[in-house]
Every structure is written in C-alpha cells, then in structure tokens.
C-alpha cells in the first residue's frame, strides 16, 4: 500500500525556485498496478523518487505499508537506463540489493539465479553487462529489483529506450510477473498504449506544479490484447486529456 498525502516539492536550482508538485494525494492499494502518465518534464520521475525515499518532499507525508516478513528491501526501483554496474557480472548485479542481508555469497547467488529465471535470462549469470543487448540489460535491471523480494516495485519509464519488439516482449513479461507475484507496481510512462495495456489504473499527471488531472480504472480482462476495441475509447479520451492539459 502506498499513501501519499498533500505532497509538495520545490527544487531550488541556481537560485531559482521551481515548484514541481503541489498538494498531491495518491492512494494505491496493495497489489495494484498503477501507471503514471503525463507529458515529459511534468514530474512523474520526481513523484517516483518521492515514493522511493530518494527525494524528501517539502510538504505532506509518504506512508508505505509493506509486509513485515519482508526479508530484504520493501521497495525496489527500475530506471529508464538499466544502470547496471559494469564491473559486476550479471549475477552480482542482480544480487546487489541483497548485500544488506546476512546471506552467504552462495545464497545470494541462488536468489539472483531465481530472479534471472523469472525474467528469462537463465544462463547469463557469468556475462558482463557490456556483453548484453539493451533489452537483456533491462531484464537484468528488472531481475535486480525482483531479487530483493520487494512489496513495491517502482518503474521509471523502464522500456522507453527499447525498440518496439523488445518493449512488447518485456511488457508481456512484466504482466506475467505481476500476475504471478501480486506486487504493487507504480509504472511511470509517457505512452498511453503502454499504460492502458499494463495497468489496473492509470493516473494522469499534468500542470505546473503537477497535480493529478485524472484517474482511470482499466478493467479489461487479462491477458489483454494490444489495441483491443474495448480500450480504444479510453485511449482516445486520455489522448484528448493529455493534449488539453499537457
């Protein structure tokens, strides 16, 4: 569960104040897949960093409730660039977030292998990041986030830099992982199609400072088809909304 109340955030850059978020409320129940949609620069990534605790808001409160038996990290993040550590082999990248725990190297490695299997990268453990394709690197980044067994997965335009075919493959993978694990996912994107295809709920962020302009529940059954008729009207509606407000 994620509960944001009255979030306000102002950056000071070169003496200039730039208010990014104001009075933002957002409640996401456990297990829900929420896509955050909005024009670039609106503050979507900032919002994600506030949830992750990487940025401290000037006003408001962030409450995360996570299951107490969670062994490693309650929240994990996937960035737009894979951000792998180039000096670590694939498995050691995936095990990165496990190094807080008292696990032995063998146990960490085993957990990393499990996470790699989940993203379809069995057998890639011994490679270095530069030996992988862009899509494979992003899978490793996803495995690294899954390895810490988080309740909440934060994803910042994770597939934006990939080609269309790779992107669709990873979207399907993510849909499968969400169905299998029931994690709470906050997925930032600027693609309406991607948001509608993946999410239970799409929230639209717009304006400066940004506020929640709209929230749409997507209740089309899964597995979903791409560009299905049942979502066409909703996509058109959001497109109009983004055009007006962004």
């Amino acid at each position: 569960m994620i509960d944001l109340k009255n979030i306000g955030l102002t950056f000071a850059r070169n003496g200039e104040q730039s208010e990014v978020l104001r009075g933002l409320d957002l409640f996401i129940p456990a297990g829900r897949f929420v896509a955050v949609l909005g024009p670039s620069g609106v503050g979507k990534s900032t919002l994600l960093r506030v949830i992750a605790g990487l940025l401290k808001p000037n006003t408001g409160s962030v409450a995360l409730s996570t299951s107490p038996e969670n062994a490693h990290l309650p929240v994990a993040m996937v960035f737009q660039d894979a951000r792998l550590l180039p000096w670590r082999k694939v498995w050691a990248n995936v095990a990165f977030g496990l190094e807080h725990s008292k696990l032995t190297t063998a146990e960490r490695r085993a957990k990393a292998e499990t996470a790699l299997a989940l993203v379809g990268l069995t057998g890639f453990s011994e490679r270095f990041p530069h030996e992988l394709s862009g899509g494979q690197r992003q899978r490793v980044a996803l495995a690294r986030a899954l390895a810490v067994e988080p309740d909440i997965l934060l994803m910042d335009e994770p597939f934006a830099a990939l080609d269309a075919i790779t992107r669709e493959g990873l979207q399907d993978e993510l849909a499968r992982i969400h169905a299998a694990t029931g994690k709470t996912i906050v997925f930032v994107t600027h693609s309406i199609d991607e948001a509608v295809h993946l999410a239970d709920e799409v929230v639209v962020l717009a304006g400066k400072p940004a506020r929640l302009a709209a929230a749409h529940v997507i209740d089309t059954p899964r597995p979903r088809r791409r560009n299905g008729d049942e979502t066409a009207e909703l996509v058109a509606q959001m497109r109009a909304q983004l055009g007006q407000t962004g």
């Binding site: 990290l73 994990a76 960035f79 660039d81 951000r83 550590l85 180039p86 000096w87 977030g97």
Partner: protein
C-alpha cells in the same frame, strides 16, 4: 598491413638502426669513446654482471623505484579520493596545490639532501613527489566523474551511508581512471630514479655517472639499455594486471 608484415618491418627498422650505429664509429667517423658501437656492449655488459655491480645497481634502483612509487601512489590516490568526495577540502587545498604542483621533481633535490642526506630515502622522496601529483589528479578526476546515476542507484537499493557508496560504487567506478594515472606515474617514476641517483644515491643512475666520468661510454649505454628494459618489463606487467582488473570493460 598484416601482422607478420608489421613485425618484419619493425625488425628491419631496428636492424637498420643497429647497423648505422655500428658503422658510424666503425668507419672512424667518430671515436668509439664518443659513440661506442653496439658490438662493444655485450662485453661491457658481461663485465658489469661478473663484478656484481650490475645486479646490485639494478636491485637498489628498483627498491627506490618501488618504494617511491608505492608511497606516492598511496598518498596521492587517497588524498585525491577524499578531495574528490568532499568539495570543501578541494577548495581548502586549491591554492596550496596551485603553488606546489608546478615545482618540478628535481627542484626538490636540494631539500631532499638537506632533509635526508645522500641516502636512499632522499631518492625515494624525490620519486614519490612526482608520483604523488600524477596519482592525486588522476584519482580526483576519476572520483569526480563517477556517474551520478550509479550513486543514485546505490541510494535506491538502500546503500545510503558514505562508506557504502564509496566501496560499492565510487571506488570500482573510479578504478579505470586511477589506473591510467598510475601507469603515467610508472613512467614518470623511472625518470625520477635516474635523476635522484645522479646526485650520488647508489643505483643505476649513480653507476652511469661513474662510468661517464671514466669515459667508459660503453658501460653508460649498458645502463641506459638496462633502464629501458626494466621500464618496459614493469610497464608490461602493469598492463597485464590492469587488463585483468578491467576485464569488465568493453
């Protein structure tokens, strides 16, 4: 050009160089004391090996070299890292660095003698001074240019303490840049060895000066070649270690 052809041409160039070198004193164009022919060198070399001077000079020089290199690198890299991480320190040191850095290593010779006497520690001091600045700036620059995104990654995965960020991300990311500096220092330190020993600390440089004073120019060339070979060997070892450490690079 094929690899074989490149090697053949390089060998040919070296042979040509040796032949011209041999002919210039051989044809009586200059006396052999001014330019000893390469054919005189094996005998001179063997003489130095037989009386034990060659090996003891080499080991002494190497010990000054290694001590100066290690002291200079450890101090330079550590201070460079701390300065790179902590902006107030860089500002504090900025003017001091600006004053001290342009002083050539050899300009420290008078103080080296004053402080340490004609002793190995004086040579080590001069060598480490040069190495210090090179490794300091390399480490400072390398730490500064660590990708901020990787540091945010450490934050996102719960490594929020400075020491965690240092060991998990900053140091490994800065290693390639630091090693480039250390390799430059490796060459710089050899120049300093000769310079430091020429004023009397026992080693290759001192033996070379003795031979020069006796007009034993063939022995001078033997020691010049020894220095070149020793530097070549050390650099090759370093490059091998470096590529092992950086095998993750594309």
């Amino acid at each position: 050009m094929t690899r074989t052809k490149t090697i053949a041409l390089s060998a040919l160039g070296l042979a040509g160089f040796l032949i011209i070198w041999e002919l210039v004193p051989g044809l009586g164009l200059v006396p052999a004391t001014i330019l000893p022919p390469p054919s005189a060198l094996p005998g001179a070399f063997w003489g130095e090996v037989k009386n034990g001077v060659w090996l003891s000079s080499l080991t002494r020089s190497l010990s000054h070299y290694l001590a100066g290199l290690i002291i200079g690198c450890v101090l330079g890299v550590s201070l460079g890292i701390v300065t790179g991480l902590w902006v107030p320190l860089e500002a504090t040191l900025a003017w001091v660095v600006r004053i001290l850095r342009p002083i050539p290593g050899l300009a420290w010779v008078p103080f080296a003698i004053l402080w340490f006497g004609i002793a190995p520690s004086a040579a080590i001091f001069i060598i480490s001074t040069g190495v210090f600045w090179i490794s300091y700036f390399a480490a400072l620059g390398a730490v500064r240019s660590v990708d901020r995104d990787l540091i945010e990654l450490a934050d996102a995965f719960g490594f929020r303490r400075a020491d965690q960020k240092l060991f998990k991300v900053i140091l490994p990311a800065a290693t390639p840049g630091i090693l480039v500096g250390v390799r430059t220092a490796l060459g710089q330190a050899w120049m300093a060895v000769v310079a430091a020993e020429i004023f009397g600390v026992p080693g290759l440089g001192q033996r070379m000066m003795q031979a020069s004073n006796l007009l034993a120019s063939d022995i001078v060339v033997v020691y010049m070649a020894t220095m070149a070979a020793a530097y070549g060997a050390i650099d090759s070892i370093f490059v091998a270690v470096q590529s092992r450490l950086l095998r993750w690079k594309q």
